[in-house]
């Protein structure tokens, strides 16, 4: 019998049909993979299951009980536990309170029931051990954990429910490799206890490794369900994108011009980056690899002037640049596509047009962006051009960027920097959470930029990505450059060895 049975679910948001007539089920002890492009409706389907969204029609059977409308509490009582795509850790609560949020063990104290912290500590310690976080005490503030540790905390929380079905919405996108291994161990253990898992990821190799069955969604429609072993990675891509993806990653031409961009002994005030240096030649794409926390994003932020640095020289086309703020960087033709689109990439209250034009306008302005006039005609042309160049799919240049899918948001951000005519463009995790189709488009775009003489630097935690787009890959660890490989000699193993500090 299925532990979860969703039938004919329909769900619309203003202007979008997110789910049409989707049915979905989970059997005990299986890992059921959900696959689809960005915006296909995976997260929405799971949020319907967890009661965050109410479906327009359709029914959900949990434990043999039929529901037409759930809420998070009811869903949990029905045996569902979920790790949401967006982290839901409360920074100002400690670990145990995060795990047991809203359902802490109580004991009677006269007429009132009070929280039983002793019991809570015990339970927490057990869970932390399971997810390799036992170096922390249960009363450690969650704010002191790194992003990937927070994700592990979410996993601990999810397994603490004794749920019959655990949903994991892109749990691996912010985990390190060893943590992914740990997670898979946990999943296998849960399976053996007869717990059903829904697993969402854009990383096809992971799906092959851990999945049992796979359901594919496309634009809110149901494509089909298969056994994972019956599909090759190519099949998956074809089914979710609806066409064949040509193996697109063409390599660079091997021979490059002189060094045009150079960073020398860059150190940050907070010590997260020390003595960083890099050289980029004309037409070359340089990648930056390393473990989470190695200081790659931090180095890029420092180049970009977003954080104070204590030392460092930045040279572009032989000229020394003075960069104290992102404004200075922009003025000197440096752009940064940040790691976190939503928080630092674009303006939720701005239309596509405005999001694209902002940097170019700023670049033309004076006195720290204070003086300058706006010509709307110009803006419109700029947006139109970006749309054509980058093949952005939008309903119009006046549509709010926040209503685009992740991939298209990313393209808008790209459009912003390209319109500003940057000479150096730094990409930080450019394809995080972006589906394979869009990914290959973005790779092509990077190559095109490099061919047009723009310096392209790519920071990524996904080694296949770096191996696919870069001409040279540098490795960082503990805030320092550890070494570099030409693409012809780089392999995942070599990169990993250098990143973890073994060999060189």
């Amino acid at each position: 019998m299925n532990i979860v049975e969703m039938r004919n679910i329909n769900k619309s948001f203003p202007g979008v049909k997110a789910l049409s007539n989707i049915s979905f089920s989970v059997k005990p002890g299986e890992v059921h993979v959900l696959l689809g492009e960005n915006g296909a409706g995976k997260s929405t389907l799971m949020k319907v299951l967890s009661g965050v969204y109410h479906p327009d029609s359709g029914s959900i059977v949990l434990n043999g009980v039929e529901h037409s409308k759930l809420n998070p509490r009811l869903s949990r009582e029905g045996g569902i536990s979920i790790i949401y795509q967006e982290l839901s850790v409360v920074n100002w609560l400690d670990i145990r309170e995060n795990i047991f949020m809203g359902r802490m063990q109580s004991k009677k104290l006269g007429p009132v029931s009070t929280i039983d912290y002793a019991k809570l500590n015990q339970d927490t310690k057990k869970l932390l051990k399971q997810v390799n976080l036992d170096k922390y005490e249960p009363n450690k503030m969650a704010s002191e954990l790194s992003i990937s540790e927070k994700q592990m905390l979410e996993i601990a929380k999810a397994i603490s429910f004794d749920a019959k079905c655990i949903v994991m919405d892109e749990p691996t996108s912010s985990l390190t490799e060893s943590e992914v291994k740990k997670l898979f161990e946990i999943i296998r253990d849960l399976k053996s206890k007869g717990i059903g898992i829904v697993f969402i990821s854009h990383k096809l190799s992971e799906i092959k490794e851990i999945g049992d069955r796979i359901s594919i969604l496309k634009d809110g429609n149901y494509v089909g369900t298969w056994n994972v072993s019956d599909l090759s990675e190519e099949d998956m891509v074809r089914l979710m994108v609806g066409r064949e993806l040509e193996k697109s990653y063409q390599e660079g031409h091997g021979s490059f011009g002189e060094v045009v961009f150079e960073v020398k002994n860059l150190s940050r005030k907070d010590g997260k980056v020390r003595d960083f240096h890099m050289q980029v030649r004309k037409g070359e794409i340089v990648g930056l690899s390393g473990l989470v926390g190695a200081g790659r994003s931090e180095a890029m932020e420092a180049i970009f002037g977003a954080v104070p640095k204590t030392s460092g020289e930045i040279l572009l086309e032989g000229k020394r640049l003075t960069i104290h703020t992102p404004y200075d960087a922009l003025k000197n033709g440096i752009g940064l596509v940040t790691e976190n689109r939503r928080e630092t990439g674009f303006f939720q209250n701005f239309s596509n047009k405005r999001n694209i034009s902002i940097a170019s306008l700023l670049k033309k302005s004076k006195f720290g962006g204070v003086c300058g006039l706006i010509q709307e005609k110009n803006e419109k042309e700029m947006a139109e051009k970006a749309k054509l160049d980058l093949q952005i799919k939008w309903a119009g240049d006046a549509q709010l960027t926040k209503n685009l899918s992740g991939g298209n948001q990313q393209k808008v951000i790209l459009g912003k920097w390209i319109s500003a005519g940057v000479k150096v463009l730094i990409f930080d995790e450019p394809t995080k959470g972006i589906d394979v189709g869009t990914k290959s488009e973005i790779y092509k775009m990077m190559r095109r930029l490099a061919e047009n003489g723009i310096i392209v630097i790519v920071v990524s935690s996904e080694m296949p990505e770096l191996l696919a787009v870069c001409d040279r890959i540098m490795v960082m660890a503990e805030g320092k450059v550890r070494g570099e490989f030409d693409i012809t000699e780089a392999t995942e193993e070599k990169l990993a060895m250098l990143a973890t500090g073994n060999g060189g």
């Binding site: 203003p14 977003a306 992102p326 630092t344 674009f346 209250n349 902002i358 700023l362």
Partner: protein
């Protein structure tokens, strides 16, 4: 929360909610007091009386646009008025010079100070301006020794407090300020940047916007508008009062919020602030005209605030 409201009414309301509320109010008061309320003279009066609320609202708008708030505007209004009056009366400054020093320089200066305190400490503007509100009010008392300053030059009074082509000059000042600020928000880089910062301060920083500098500018504009309100006020009254404007920051906030700006920043337009200010003026005038007892006036104001903003929340698209 959204209930698929793609119907005509919602669209209409989204665009015209604030104007509609104003019209409904005028209609209601017009029906209640057809002879006294709906006269051209009274309507002009309403606009004149609203000019201070509009000016204060314009300033507050910039603080709220950044997702902050400026509680000190009422004190700035009083201090600037008192200073300008003192300069003319006790120090013999010419009106032009007094306005330059007491309104423009002072207003901008004190606003810059607010801005520097906010950006320098990183504290919520609510706290900083709560502090400066108290400090500045106390400076008004110290400056004036809690006495009103009268005997302003006639030329000052008849120009700023007078009429120009039938229209009261305070109205002209308010509308002109609104026009300039509208252009500023629509057509200049700086204005655009303020919206960006209000929408997402972190993204603004990463896009190359000098966030602190712009925050200071927003508070400077707030200070300047408050000082202009102070100038209009002393011209209208022909005197500067130490207690002037006490509690008026509330009117300003109401004007901005009723005008559809979001408390979370990044949303709102100047023309709607004007309507917001007119709404405040109309209620005050209408309730007077209708002879509503003062006990009930606050009641009406409170209910109106909640109802207007709720309507906007549910049918308007903007203030989410």
């Amino acid at each position: 929360m959204s209930q698929g409201k793609t119907n005509k009414f919602a669209q209409f309301w989204d665009r015209y909610s604030t104007v509609s509320i104003l019209c409904i109010m005028i209609l209601v008061f017009g029906i209640l007091r057809p002879k006294s309320f709906l006269t051209p003279a009274n309507l002009v009066k309403i606009i004149e009386q609203s000019s201070i609320y509009i000016l204060l609202g314009l300033g507050e708008f910039f603080a709220i646009l950044l997702g902050g708030i400026d509680l000190s505007i009422s004190s700035i209004m009083a201090l600037s008025g008192a200073l300008t009056a003192k300069l003319m009366v006790d120090f013999g400054f010419s009106p032009v010079l007094a306005i330059l020093v007491g309104v423009v320089l002072f207003g901008l200066g004190i606003g810059v100070l607010n801005g520097i305190l906010v950006t320098g400490t990183g504290l919520p503007p609510f706290i900083i301006t709560l502090g400066t509100q108290a400090i500045l009010r106390s400076l008004v008392y110290i400056l004036t020794n809690a006495r009103s300053v009268s005997g302003l030059p006639t030329s000052f009074q008849t120009t700023i407090g007078g009429h120009f082509l039938f229209f009261p000059v305070p109205v002209m000042i308010a509308l002109l300020t609104a026009l300039v600020l509208s252009l500023f928000t629509w057509k200049t880089q700086c204005g655009r940047n303020l919206y960006a910062i209000g929408g997402n301060p972190q993204a603004a920083w990463y896009a190359g916007i000098t966030v602190n500098r712009h925050t200071v500018i927003a508070f400077a504009l707030s200070g300047l508008c408050a000082a202009l309100a102070g100038m209009v006020n002393i011209a209208r009254l022909a005197a500067a009062e130490p207690n002037a404007g006490t509690g008026y920051e509330t009117y300003a906030i109401e004007a901005v919020i009723i005008g559809g700006a979001s408390f979370f920043g990044g949303v709102g337009i100047i023309p709607k602030v004007i309507i917001g200010g007119l709404i405040i003026g109309t209620i005050n005038n209408g309730l007077n005209m209708a002879g509503v007892s003062s006990f009930y006036q606050q009641l009406a104001m409170g209910i109106l605030l909640i109802v207007a903003v709720t309507l906007d929340r549910f049918f308007g698209g903007r203030s989410k």
